[in-house]
Subunit: 190 residues, 2 copies
DNA sequence: CATTGATTTCAGTAATTTCTGAAAACAATG
DNA sequence: CATTGTTTTCAGAAATTACTGAAATCAATG
């Protein structure tokens, strides 16, 4: 591997992190390299930069394409494929979220739905179903939120983030006012 | 493996999913089993239920404990350790988020910070740093939001989720009103 | 349609991760 | 402090995953 030290550290870190993220080392390294490079790279550039086999690069690029994480570019009078990542980090985040949901959440949700259709054959199964139902409800709430939020423009998304928990403080205030209004007729509930 | 069919399907699914989630099959299966069982299980119960070696169970339980995903219980007049998962799925979600952040985000953030302290030695490095800075900014925004939101009570969290993108629609309305107020003096910007 | 340059596939190998059984460590009890 | 029941450790075996090099495929060009 023959890269400027800073880039090398970054690439190596992404490689190590790869396993924790469910992608393999090479895929992580290639992604990091493409992300931080100022211009698109072709497969041979990557072979050289990371000292790995041509076929490994081919496989890993295919994997990255399956994740929609790289963009294919062409350079005039050059038949080779060149690759980059999107410029906009927010767009990258969106893609990542979408793909992880597809791979890591959706299959579970569909298994849960299927298992909850079945008629429990014992007390043990009845309890298990109740637990699965709790899990299903949670996941559905989360994905509903996600579906709602994913269409937002970057700027709005940033606003939402900055707002954070403040939103609920606002709602709390509203609730207090409402319950204050009720107090006259309905005394303390709990 | 000798479990009621429903439970078995669930356990097997979590096992398969495990690899995508960066945990291994056995750990996933044990977690699923504990999650869906109506009472705490001891190591030998798990050995029997999943037909795996005692030592594998020991290692995997240790892993789950490191993730704070299981609760240790004791049963009167029984020296063995029994395990369950927390009842509250929201609490489980919180733990999961916290642990994943610790393992998957924080290390990257600290590498980014370190690399951004360095003085770039070339144009290539300068560009790389600019990219890393973009990534850092994004991650910091996300973790800031997370730190803000993680303290919320379950009910408030649910409210926040249900609100979803509506929050920004509210803010948009406000913006429109504000810009309407400005229109008289400042004509179209773009 | 042969040539050249590029990419992909795939069988075999290497590396890594997971799992096991045997032994060690631990802890409660008489 | 020996006994019994329990958990942990760890070296090696098994399984899985990643990587390579050689051959096959593909696609543009004269």
């Amino acid at each position: 591997m023959n890269l400027p030290p800073l880039l090398q550290s970054f690439v190596l870190h992404f490689g190590e992190m790869g396993s924790r993220w469910g992608i393999n080392r090479t895929v992580g390294q290639i992604y990091a390299l493409l992300y931080a490079s100022s211009n698109p790279l072709c497969a041979d550039d990557i072979v050289e930069a990371l000292s790995i086999s041509r076929s490994n690069v081919s496989m890993s690029l295919r994997e990255l394409q399956a994740w929609n994480l790289v963009i294919l570019k062409h350079i005039p009078d050059d038949r080779r494929d060149y690759f980059t990542t999107p410029d906009d980090v927010w767009q990258i985040l969106r893609t990542l979220a979408e793909e992880r949901k597809k791979r890591e959440v959706d299959p579970t949700l569909s298994v849960l739905r299927e298992l909850l259709m079945q008629t429990p054959g014992s007390e043990e199964e009845r309890h298990a179903q109740a637990r699965l139902a709790e899990m299903q409800t949670l996941i559905e709430q989360l994905t509903k939120w996600y579906d709602d939020v994913k269409h937002l423009e970057t700027e709005q998304l940033a606003t939402l983030l900055n707002l954070g928990a403040k939103v609920t403080r606002l709602l709390d205030a509203k609730d207090r006012i409402v319950s204050l209004g009720r107090k006259r007729t309905e005394p303390k509930t709990s």
